[in-house]
Subunit: 140 residues, 3 copies
Amino acid sequence: MEWLKETLEITTDGKGLYPFTPQIQSSLHDWEVQAGMVHLFIPHTSASLVISESYDPTARQDLEAFLEHLVPEGQSWYRHTLEGRDDSPSHMRSILTATSLSIPVDEGKLSLGTWQGVYVFEHRARPHRRNVLLRCLNVR
Amino acid sequence: MEWLKETLEITTDGKGLYPFTPQIQSSLHDWEVQAGMVHLFIPHTSASLVISESYDPTARQDLEAFLEHLVPEGQSWYRHTLEGRDDSPSHMRSILTATSLSIPVDEGKLSLGTWQGVYVFEHRARPHRRNVLLRCLNVR
Amino acid sequence: MEWLKETLEITTDGKGLYPFTPQIQSSLHDWEVQAGMVHLFIPHTSASLVISESYDPTARQDLEAFLEHLVPEGQSWYRHTLEGRDDSPSHMRSILTATSLSIPVDEGKLSLGTWQGVYVFEHRARPHRRNVLLRCLNVR
């Protein structure tokens, strides 16, 4: 068994879902991994990871609007407002979604479902450069 | 160390929690795994994974009702309605729960807590056949 | 590759976030792990795991208040009330946050972001002794 690692960089331009499945796939290809496990970890507290519908853009728009409804900005009881209106909501949105994800690899590819894509969910209004730590256990 | 894999099939009959702990346990038994890690991944965007109370059926009923309240169908701002009223809500419910889960194995068994069970959470009204990818790192 | 295991004990005193990053770090130090993966699993249905802001205490207070707003106690439709008003909400809060988390280890340390801390999120009002199962794959 072999341990492989890389840090992916995802540039975000405001709140929303940013797909990066091809970047993971490209690392697997470079490493010539056939089977094993990919572990993703996002070292941020105001952006998170999700796997969701990758085909119809309206599905993505609904997910983005959904978090705005579920975790609205500007609630009177928010105390943590030092870095702006989107500060506390960004931490709340992060704990409701994922900080780490593990995806099987088979026949050289992520074993995602037909409609699944891997996304960084940016919860901040301003542009950011986000890291995703990619670790892979290559089992042969 | 040894890498073991299988695809579990879980038949669902409308929205709700479908337990499958015994199916995982059965694979571990067949493989004669003593210790290691089980990784579960669901390759669907309208069903997800949860670990929760397995003893009292009212706990399950409350969890099912909770998601109906938290992510109601038929909101006026939903755009992704091509596949029905439960389409967009099913993706929302999926990102709030889990797509991947990792559970330790010790002494030949999943190290779940006394009251914990592993479930597929079906978010679609119609019956489905769902896959769960089971991967196991057998450490001895 | 080497497989290491330990059970961490976290004492909670009512609802809220309890940090335990140093306990994980201490195990890694004792084991002399340089690189690999840490897997955390909480074998409880009324407490969960989150990674979030560790610097400003108001961020923590907002996260705690947020779950009270999102999953209020005493809803008329709750059926699972045998063990008290916080019983069903504790399971709901658990499935919205994490039961398992995987964090990369590099240069002998958890590869957390600058502001990230690892927490047990206690969802019960009364004091508890919670276990967290720590598993580590040491890759060299």
